[in-house]
Symmetry: C2
Subunit: 284 residues, 2 copies
């Protein structure tokens, strides 16, 4: 069992819906965190790590058209120096993303952990699962982070862009008209994870890779499988929207996949997609 299966079973016991936000009487609630031991990248500063965790929570509420009202942040750290830097990054992200950071908690512990809670006003209620016939659109900027994880010391423009995305993610993408959208998710654990999560009771067929040429070229040049970089990257904080067919969604979005009748498979190049993004506590 990995953490997603565990959370699924827990949500079922709580009688709660599986979604990226919790809807409750006109509010939408989100708590999202990460620990440095497993999630801080070697090139991230403590400020970056604070920023990243705010952006991750914000990305989840934005992709659901939630209007964020208040943010609370709890920080755990071994030393006050690290905590202070993390909180400074939280503050910077709050400013950049127009979040009202109203308070939090600070505790001493054996790892640096940042938990971000956002309380927002719910918009239209949007789930994770598209309907057969829907088209999947996203912003075609996958692969940068996947390359950055591997080659972050290098001075290649695609790598540098990936590093910048990972240090200071800014999930401020425009939103398609809400009446077009039937389901949505943001990519935090990789596009493969998004697609496999969305493919419940429908199949999703990937038509083209939502990645720019410089990414595809660099991956090929370095002998990294393109699918690995595009589907198994993670931390892109890019949105995937399922939209009704015929609902034209313009730039920066591109159509890259479609939902069809099926039993929950993700298909690419006529085969089941073997990249599933990543998950904690996975035993393989």
């Amino acid at each position: 069992m990995d953490e997603k299966e565990f959370l699924r079973s827990l949500l079922a016991r709580l009688g709660a819906e599986e979604n990226d936000v919790v809807y409750a009487d006109g509010l939408a609630l989100k708590i999202d965190g990460a620990a440095a031991a497993t999630s801080k990248l070697p090139f991230q500063t403590w400020r970056d790590f604070g920023w990243r965790n705010v952006a991750a929570a914000y990305s989840d509420v934005r992709v659901k058209y939630v209007e964020p009202l208040y943010m609370l942040v709890s920080v755990t750290a071994p030393r006050l120096e690290e905590a202070a830097e993390v909180i400074e990054g939280v503050r910077e992200a709050a400013e950049r993303l127009s979040l009202r950071y109203v308070g939090g908690d600070l505790n001493q512990g054996g790892d640096v952990v940042v938990d971000v809670a956002i309380v927002g006003r719910a918009g239209p209620r949007i789930g994770r699962v598209p309907k057969p016939g829907d088209v999947l659109v996203t912003i075609p900027a996958y692969g940068y982070t996947g390359l950055a994880y591997r080659f972050w010391g290098e001075r290649h423009p695609a790598v540098e862009r990936g590093v910048a995305m990972l240090k200071r993610p800014e999930p401020l993408w425009p939103l398609p008209p809400p009446e077009c959208v039937t389901a949505s998710m943001d990519s935090s654990d990789g596009l493969g994870d998004v697609l496999w999560t969305m493919a419940k009771g429908v199949d999703i067929v990937v038509k083209r890779l939502p990645a720019p040429r410089e990414v595809l070229e660099l991956a090929e040049e370095r002998g990294v499988e393109v699918g690995e970089v595009v589907f198994n990257g993670g931390e892109e904080f890019l949105p995937v929207f399922a939209v009704r067919r015929g609902c034209g969604v313009g730039e920066p979005y591109v159509e890259f996949a479609e939902a069809v009748e099926g039993e929950g498979r993700v298909v690419w190049e006529n085969r089941e997609l073997r990249w599933r993004g990543w998950s904690y506590f996975r035993r393989t």
Copy 2:
């Protein structure tokens, strides 16, 4: 600088009020957490630790007369086994305390960290600082936890009661009539911390120790300073209310201190109280 001074300076920068809950447009918000490395007691199971963190957050909102609506919990743990036990304890506490546990997050990390966010409906807005002339009331059950920290292996009734309080705190105390209350706090970091925090712009004079005879006797018998056990215990999750003089507040509450004109001192036995409860990141 300890974590309280740091949080104070941060709240000042955020323009936020120093209080145990954040008030926002009719809502009251709370996030509260702890890490096992610094806060889990040797006799607590992982379930106890999960329970304790829910009770700690709940205690803060209850003492402010907030009606809790929703709870989100983020759990970090090195292994899924520990996380599952912690979450089970969270569930048990939610049931016991009538909290609606609507969802959360689960992450892998180097320490077990539990962050609990509660969204509630605000009642009357209650701060931390009493007015001169107010009387301080509490439930006279201090000292049990202070003894339990020291003697938890022993089979003494006062120690066993302290251990039970620490394993499964149940902050379900009755609430005084809200129109009587001018300020409130709960004791999580010790009664000394509560009193020093409340004493801002007023002095607080302690008249009697809110501790039962069995506690005072055991402390004396073991040569532990009574003040140390009563003021520096912590994790009692007992409420302290400042009430208008003449507002009779009945059982289980007792009057134990009063607020008088002053400059922020806590006085006991004609001297400044030297116990200040505890704080993380303190350098002495």
